[in-house]
Amino acid sequence: MIDVVDDLSQSRDIAPAFLATGLLGSEDFLYYVPWMQATYIMAANKAALAYLPEGVDLNALSWQELADWCEVMLERTDSPKCGLPHGGLFHRFLEGYLFPSFTGGMVSEFKSESAADMFAWVKSELWPSIHPQSISYEFMQEPLLAGEVWVAFDHTARLLNAFNAEPDNFIAFPAPAGPAGRGFMPVIVGLGIPSTAADPQAAKSLIDYLTQPETQGKVLNALGFFPVVGGVDTSDLPVGIAIEAGAVNAQANAADAIPSLLPVGLGSRGGEINQIFRNAFDRIVLEDQDIRMVLDEEGANLQTLLNETGAPCWAPDSASQGPCQVN
């Protein structure tokens, strides 16, 4: 893939930071060429701003302030106004946002005291003012547009319709910060060519096409995934994307930002780690089980998975020699 990038770089400008992620920690083996990027942000109906506690800055929101805000809305409008996509990409909310914000880690701090405190807080302070239909929300754009919820967390591509349909009604802002910082999860979509590919040359041409600035502009327009190459024409963007872009930048450049990678190194078993995080949440918050017991049990499952796959730690956990350890 280095050769492909070498050739592509003659005609376009691929962001080096995204390119470097394709090395997956190796010295000079490039596994993929970045294609597009996205992340998860917050969205709010402007009606919710009237209930925002005094003196709170949306761009520097903390989880406690968010919970207070949700509670105020619940009390004053008599219905829950905050929503989370529990039926959708909720595991990313746990892995990349809650855990890093409260514990500073994702895997290594899974069953730590700060994780237990975090779940206790979620259970008592946050979840009671979250809309109960959150259990089945997959894309938050629909309940936002329906007015069912006013404040929501989701993937940029799963909020885009709301911003596009009613740009004057919705604002985007960065995810809140916790005691350890502002955890957020940048997502990079990459393109690779298997070594056994029947026609690597054709694959190369496709990668060439997909990484052209014009194509990247189309992808941004239609999907809400942001470009990874320079020189994309942004003059003719749908309004929604412009709204999101502000929040995405503010989140990535926040002073307390903790970028957290998607789980890497688990091979085909990436789904299992998501299930473990979801299990921990569901058992503690929805099924009211003992926090310490759940964290110990699911932590043991997590450790088994890491041992079996040999996956070393990834950000925000510090690099490890050998399988990542749940402390």
Partner: protein
Amino acid sequence: MKKSKKPASFNWTPYWLILPTLLYLAFFFAWPMFQALKLAIWEDNALLRLKDSVNSSRFTVSLAQGTLVDIIKDETVALSPEELAGAQAGIERWYLLEFTGDSGPLQAWAPESRIRLPENTEAIGALAPVLATVRSKIGSSDPLTSVYVSPDDNSEVISKLAARTEVRVVEGVGLEHWYLIHPKNTPNKQGWASANMLQIYNDQSARIDRGNQGQFTLKFIQKMFNDRFFRPALLTTLLLTLLIIPVQFVLAIIMALIIQSRIKGSGLFLYIFAIPLGVSELAVGILFFAIFTQNGLLNSSLESLGLIAKPITFLSADNKTGIIIAIWLAEIWRATSLVMVIVVSGLQAISDEILEAAEIFGAGLWQRVRFVILPLLKPSLQVALILRTILALQVFAVVVALSGGDVVSVLANESFRQYSDLRNYNVAAAYAGLILLISMVSAVIYLRTLRAHEEAGL
């Protein structure tokens, strides 16, 4: 003449007929089923066999995948061009380069990953000298490529080349690294393993990344039992089976009696009752979802009749009972006709004389059903019971359509979740094996209990 010869020639005809059946059973039934169930108890590549020396074919010990080991020493083997051509991953290739240094032409070795050969060059050992370029580096602090005095990155660096420098590749070698290892703290279990089976850390230790030998294991079955969704899924499946089957049998017998009643137009009912047989399971699930959802058919008709003021939420995460009732209704609607078809055929086999005789002796309708029809229907009911139980244990699409597969789950859905969402084929096979086991046990129970009654009754 003919008669005397006949005993001498063996009659092969029935055996020729049996042969295709056996082949069919072996290839389309037993073999795939064995392969599928083997997944649940067999872990591929669980063990790595260590050799007693690099070139030997004798093995010392087997170590489990994932074992952490210490490296005692390593050895590098240069492969011949023939070995290289057939080699798989894990081979390190080095090229001898000729280039113009500061003080004239120089020769040095560089690893394959740093040199870009022209396209379509066979990247094997003995290649004719070709022109190549030095690859660029990504994300590294040192943009220059080091070239060495010998094909080993611990050897002396001769020079550093900039990206895209033109070089002439004059020779290539393929190297295979082997390590003498033993598990941490057990030095007596040692042996050699090749680099592509190991994950090597930089403190003279490594981890066995994959094995080359399978082994019997119960860990997938254990994992199934420990799965958070296992108990609820098992209980829901059994509960649904218990709720569905009795109602279906009562309904099916009534439907069959209506069809057999010989009232004018009763034959038409057969066609009406059989309609659900033609509708797919998923379609039924979606249909019933459309009925019970918040703004669905049921709520809107109740509303237009003025019976309720605002829609009732039948299907929500905190209303498991509602979802189970919806699944129950959908399954009854969908699969009762299957039982009915079997019962109708059983009823047709009961001869009119028997029924007439009962009537002559003064038996009323209920007495005829209870003492004549039901006992004679027993064989068909047995078949229907076995079929319906097996199908009830497999219920899947209706559940997914009505509950999303998360709130209310069944065994088949857990098998699917393991297979599709979690990509854990082994645990999925364990679930499938459990469904098979329950089906078999229930079939045996039906066969035994119903037969015993029959004999006692006679």
